[in-house]
Symmetry: C2
Subunit: 224 residues, 2 copies
DNA sequence: ACTGCATTCGAACGAACGTTCGAATTAGCC
DNA sequence: GGCTAATTCGAACGTTCGTTCGAATGCAGT
């Protein structure tokens, strides 16, 4: 089994026309693939990865069943592309937002806000990421798991900083995973018509979590 | 479509032999069905509802493919039976444990402990309940949703009591759903070899959640 | 041994599955 | 217009799916 990331399409893409000032930011191929990924995300969200058939994806994207296979070589790789792109983007945005912010409580709040904003703006993709986490196998699964681990480590770092600065006592592991639970569970209940926007929700969950973590017994300072 | 709950097997079960002092608490039929449900729970947990085939269930339970249909009339009803039994049991146990406890903080802690204890003692069943919540359709889905709603309302009641007694200010909806998220997410990460038992975990999550909810700004008492 | 019902099974059903292939169509470039 | 490669498609492949059916087996009461 080859590396899931490396392109398997050997034939080169169309070369960009000479002097055109980039009327489209990506090749036609990339655009079409992105469209298919978007439609497939909706279908996977609604019917689940196993429950969605290639014929469902064909219908949703308006392309013939066989035509889909010009853009990816298997249903599993399609899910992989969705998950990898979604997860990479959220990590990338997080890093950009954390840069230049020093206060450790503020940094945790940024983590929560970034997660919830992206979650609510891309609900379908995030549900597919959360809910179909076990659907990929071997190489595909490993690559997504690596991104997940990086994301997890970042959050652990933020909380360990907070803990050290303020001399708090709690299990970082339980705290981080509880926070992920609070945030990721949203896809099971969020209703844009009754629930607030991402910023308010991030405030509310941030309050709940940070108070819960910071109201704990501090270490006495004669403990080292 | 008939009521999913009512038995469709018309033929009566074997009548209990006359004077025997209940050597088995249930009929042979019920025992065998329970065995099949237990094996099916494991398979659904491992491969997902859609991903598990009737032939997988046949293999796991050691019964022929056709034989399974003597005990239930469809794969969907099998999932329904698992979800309904699991959810009913957890609600029933919760009610028993809450009876006679007056302190409202203690009652919330009991809710958390009951949930986590059952979750960790029946991980496979609870994962099937949490993860396959959308797999049932129409009548089947409605009946499980009714139990879920009752369970949700109980938790809302506990938190509203706490809120009133202590004059707290927070969104009950967000708090309850955040708590469910913290607890239900466990099935994605809990590892019995590294994580503590249910009681410690309930303490830790109870601290995190209750501090978060109670450390909030209290209403001034001249507000009514 | 015989009867009647509960239980189990092998074999098959039609439908739907993911994927493939060769031909048709389209779009950029001389 | 004609050439070439990129793109799309209809039709089919072999496999697996959930479910059904009639026959076999087990077992209790007579």
């Amino acid at each position: 089994m080859g590396n899931p990331s490396t392109a398997t399409r050997i034939s080169g893409r169309r070369h960009r026309s000479s002097g055109v000032p980039l009327p489209t930011p990506a090749t036609r191929y990339d655009q079409r693939l992105a469209e298919i990924l978007a439609h497939a995300t909706d279908v996977f969200c609604k019917k689940g990865y196993e429950g969605a058939s290639m014929r469902d994806l064909s219908r949703a994207s308006g392309m013939s069943l066989a035509g889909l296979y010009y853009y990816f070589e298997s249903k599993e790789r399609l899910l992989f592309l969705i998950q990898k792109h979604t997860f990479s983007t959220i990590v990338e945005r997080l890093k950009a937002r954390l840069a230049g912010v020093g206060d450790s409580e503020q940094r945790v709040r940024i983590f929560i806000l970034n997660h919830l904003e992206y979650f609510l703006a891309n609900q379908a993709a995030m549900k597919v990421l959360s809910h179909e986490a076990e659907a990929l196998k071997n190489g595909f699964a490993a690559e997504v798991a690596a991104i997940k681990r990086e994301y997890y480590r970042i959050c652990v770092g933020l909380l360990d900083d907070l803990k050290r600065e303020r001399g708090l006592q709690f299990s970082t592991r339980i705290a981080v995973l509880s926070l992920f639970g609070m945030m990721n569970w949203i896809y099971t209940w969020h209703n844009p018509r009754v629930d607030a926007d991402a910023a308010s929700m991030a405030d509310e969950m941030g309050d709940l979590f940070l108070r819960g973590v910071m109201a704990g017994t501090k270490k006495r300072k004669d403990e080292h």
